[in-house]
């Protein structure tokens, strides 16, 4: 007796839990790999998961096994040239040559990393695991003013193109029934009586004439009820409702003057990626505008933003002005959620800093949802920081932070958005 069982419809993910266990156990290594991977990927590349590589030695499961050396004898097939007693030169170390079992991986060099892929969701989860993301969507709901038209029932007045024929005719039918029903009943009764009288052997002529006159009058009244009346007409009704837009634009502003080296830029890049990924969790369409500046500001693409070398002095306000122009031209603040992150080493023309504060407070901050300034430097703060400090005290959607090393980025990012959540809570 045997029987066949069709298991194909059973779940195929029997191993999912074990896979999760694996990821859970190596979270530390995987997180390291994830944060390393940030540097390699483009800011806007979030559609893909990530290929994770963990040193194979970390995930080895140790067992007792034999090492190299000693006396071994091994039988091989396919002898084509050897005779008993032949001596063969030992193959050079490193090439396993099949002589020993399970040794190939013992040599440090031969060890490959354990590489595998995680999905986009797993990637984001790992990346944001420690971060308490504030709910920015709630924060934005009250201010977003894009209107969308929705159907909203029917009304009795409107333009002819919105007439709803079925509803209108239903009204007409109902009205006609309501206005004629009584008369029709009366008419039927009179007609009945008329027939009854006519069948009498001696018809009562006066009564018949009277009945005929009444019937004529009723029929006239019934036919006077119009088929359709203004009163019957129904129009489709529309109303406009405010709708939160799902569009967001993220401005990346960066100082590329001589004082910003590649390491500093990489730190800034990480920060931008975090912000971008974070925004993707809330908004569907995100555009990124890169503005780099030294004494003059320029809108550039990502590659140029992070990797092109330029030197010069530093006038921060040039970038702020350019940002304002771009917003005015392309990103109306009523339609777009505007976020900005500015990275700098804090260098600025001393005369320019008050101007920056002015541009920000008058033009930019009223329009943006959030503006984060990170200063990446080991030196003392300069005039720009002091100006911004005052702004931060005044505006809830403006925050400044100081980063000295790569490790600071996650915590700083968290702090920044925690602060934003608190201010919303207070204002709400």
């Amino acid at each position: 007796m045997a029987h066949f069982i069709d298991r194909r419809l059973n779940g195929k993910n029997k191993s999912t839990l074990n896979r999760q266990r694996f990821i859970r156990r190596y979270k530390k290594q995987i997180k390291e790999a994830v944060s390393d991977a940030i540097n390699k990927r483009s800011v806007t590349d979030v559609s893909s998961g990530e290929s994770i590589s963990i040193p194979a030695k970390d995930i080895k499961e140790p067992v007792f096994h034999q090492g190299k050396g000693g006396f071994r004898e091994q039988v091989h097939p396919g002898n084509d040239q050897f005779n008993a007693g032949d001596r063969i030169k030992r193959p050079p170390a490193g090439q396993s040559g099949g002589a020993g079992e399970g040794e190939a991986s013992d040599q440090g060099e031969g060890t490959d990393d354990f590489v595998f892929s995680i999905s986009k969701d797993e990637y984001l989860d790992l990346l944001f695991e420690d971060l308490e993301l504030p709910n920015l969507q709630e924060n934005s709901l009250d201010k977003l003013v894009q209107m969308r038209t929705h159907r909203a029932g029917f009304c009795s007045e409107g333009v002819p193109s919105n007439i709803d024929i079925i509803r209108s005719l239903q009204g007409s039918l109902a009205r006609r029934v309501a206005m004629t029903a009584g008369k029709k009943r009366e008419l039927a009764e009179l007609k009945q009586e008329l027939i009854h009288l006519e069948q009498q052997p001696v018809p009562e002529q006066t009564r018949i004439n009277q009945l005929l006159a009444e019937i004529e009058e009723l029929e006239r009244q019934i036919s006077a009820v119009p088929f359709i009346d203004n009163y019957d007409l129904r129009f489709r009704n529309y109303e406009k409702r405010p709708h939160p837009t799902s569009k967001a634009v993220m401005f990346c502003l960066m100082d590329v003057s001589g004082s910003m080296d590649q390491a500093t830029k990489d730190m800034a890049k990480r920060f931008y990626i975090l912000l971008y990924l974070f925004l993707t969790r809330t908004y569907k369409d995100i555009e990124v505008v890169y503005i780099r500046h030294h004494t003059q500001a320029k809108e550039v693409d990502e590659q140029e933003f992070f990797y092109s070398q330029e030197t010069g002095g530093t006038i921060v306000s040039s970038a702020l002005k350019l940002m304002h122009q771009i917003i005015a031209a392309r990103y109306s603040s009523s339609e777009w959620n505007i976020y900005a992150a500015q990275a700098s080493d804090g260098d600025n023309w001393a005369d320019d800093s008050p101007q920056c504060a002015e541009v920000l407070s008058n033009k930019i901050l009223p329009m943006v949802r959030y503006y984060a300034y990170v200063e990446i430097t080991n030196r003392a703060h300069q005039s720009l920081w002091r100006e911004y400090e005052q702004l931060a005290a005044q505006f809830g959607n403006f925050a400044i932070k100081h980063i000295t090393s790569v490790e600071d980025i996650y915590p700083i990012f968290r702090e920044l958005f925690k602060k934003s959540a608190n201010t919303t809570a207070q204002s709400a």
Binding site: A2, R8, F64, P77, A84, R90, A99
Partner: protein, 502 residues
């Protein structure tokens, strides 16, 4: 002329059943005694799941299975590896998995191979009979899975994972290699022990005790515990580790049981695969001769069969040791030949088998041997010539390798011997036993490694000791007993322990 069965290529459940009926009929003709079959059709993804749970249809959860799964999945995706056509589980009823992608011909081959080949091997071979209980394994695995899940809830995933990690590190040492499983009851054991103790007591001569013993002798006399070295480290831990909680002992036991369950499979790879391959070949050929199978069907079967039993020569890029399917299949075929058409050489080498009933001899071989003994009993000179086997000695004392024997008159015996030794698990798995517990002192546990042919222990030993330390709870030492009787300390955990001693 009988009407041949449809050869597909697509299979249906009806057709599978027809083929199975035919195969079963022929299998009975050849006296294959099997457990009832339970044949499950699964998809490729499910096959990967089955792979990563090391063949257990129900496995407890552990990250190492996840790692295995990720590896399998990656390799499969990159096309570095095909999936096996089948997996078969030593249980009653015998569960065999067929992959949905296979053609009808492949399904038939797999059924003949797994459901009648492997299945009858599981039922007939002495190792499986002795060590595994096919009837209860599924229940036991289910129990293990539930028990471990329960422990995870009660004591936390990390706690359980730690214990499992440590057990897995010692899994190969959770096996009784030499001891027979028929255990006398505890009562019986205690009674016998009491008898022994009484006897010893009766031998004590009180007068001798008045003679003062020297310090040296006193130290020597300290009774060792365990009195005999113990090879089954996990069993020893389960019974004797002082600090383990009951649930931890139970987990040690589960891992040990599962390890023991798989131990016969490790020892009979060549025989098991050879047997199953021989039977799918023989059964399907029998059906073909009866006219039940079409030519196209048979060609597909033979093509696949030929791939399975291909043995690349030592200098090929595809060479990775001796293919157990090739060796096993050819030995089975060769046994049949020796019985049916023996020549003078066979009569000289196999006087008791040459000319005997082949089916009986083959069943006898299947039932009573494991790879090691099977090869040393049945590997014929003719097969050694066909495989062109040669033996290489790698002695680390010498600057070169040496060919110790080839497929010639003077080499047959030697090659057979060393190939047999190659399949002796105890030559590969380091011989490590629990040697001593310092029960009067710090309760430290001492393992003793006895090298085989001077082969040292690999560096992973330090890591494994950490795991044993976790289970034992007190210091753990590892020492090596050399051929000349000298003892060398290899490692210890905690590591400081070693320094103090020196």
């Amino acid at each position: 002329m009988t009407k041949p069965l449809s050869d597909g290529p697509d299979w249906t459940f009806d057709l599978l059943e027809q083929y199975r009926e035919e195969i079963k009929r022929v299998a009975e003709h050849y006296k294959l005694d099997t457990y009832p079959n339970q044949i499950e059709v699964i998809t490729a993804e499910q096959m990967m799941d089955a792979y990563s749970s090391v063949g257990m249809p129900i496995g407890y959860n552990h990250w190492s299975f996840g790692k295995k799964f990720i590896q399998t999945e990656q390799n499969y995706r990159r096309g570095q590896m095909g999936l096996a056509y089948e997996i078969v589980i030593n249980s009653n009823p015998c569960i065999a998995y067929l992959m949905e992608e296979n053609t009808m011909a492949m399904q038939a081959l797999v059924m003949a191979h797994a459901c009648y080949g492997h299945n009858s091997f599981f039922k007939g071979n002495y190792l499986f009979k002795t060590w595994t209980d096919a009837g209860s394994i599924i229940d036991y695995l289910l129990f293990a899975k539930n028990y471990i899940a329960e422990c995870e809830q009660k004591y936390g995933i990390d706690e359980v994972e730690d214990i499992l990690d440590s057990c897995h590190a010692l899994m190969n040492y959770g096996v009784d290699r030499y001891k027979r499983p028929q255990q006398i009851s505890l009562y019986e054991e205690q009674k016998r022990q009491q008898e022994r103790a009484d006897y010893l007591q009766s031998q004590v001569n009180e007068l001798w005790r008045t003679i003062p013993t020297s310090e040296q002798q006193k130290r020597k006399k300290r009774p060792r515990f365990p009195s005999e070295p113990q090879e089954n480290i996990l069993y020893f831990v389960e019974k004797n580790a002082p600090l383990l909680e009951p649930w931890q002992r139970e987990i040690v036991r589960i891992v040990r049981k599962i390890s023991q369950y798989f131990y016969p499979q490790k020892q009979t790879q060549v025989m098991n695969e050879g047997w199953a391959t021989f039977w799918h070949y023989t059964l399907l050929n029998h059906l073909y001769d009866e006219g039940k199978l079409t030519d196209g069907f048979m060609l597909e079967v033979l093509q696949s069969h030929t791939n399975v039993i291909y043995q690349p020569p030592y200098n090929s890029n595809y060479y990775s040791g001796i293919n157990p399917y090739a060796l096993g299949f050819n030995m089975m075929v060769d046994i049949r030949r020796i019985c049916e058409n023996p020549d003078d050489e066979d009569r000289k080498w196999f006087p008791e088998y040459a000319g005997s009933d082949w089916l009986e001899t083959l069943h006898f071989a299947m039932q009573n041997f494991k790879d090691e003994s099977f090869i040393s009993q049945f590997l014929s000179p003719r097969l050694i010539r066909e495989f062109k086997l040669f033996s290489i000695v790698d002695d680390s004392q010498q600057p070169h390798l040496e060919v110790s024997a080839i497929h010639d008159e003077s080499g047959y015996q030697k090659i057979r011997q060393s190939l047999s030794a190659q399949y002796n698990l105890s030559n590969h798995e380091p011989n490590i036993q629990v040697y001593d517990i310092d029960i009067r002192g710090d309760r430290s546990l001492t393992l003793r490694y006895i090298p085989h042919l001077g082969i040292p222990l690999a560096d992973s030993k330090d890591e494994v000791l950490k795991h044993l330390h976790r289970l034992w709870g007190f210091p753990v030492r590892l020492e090596q007993e050399n051929a000349d009787g000298s003892i060398v300390k290899l490692s210890s955990c905690p590591a400081a322990e070693l320094d103090l001693e020196n």
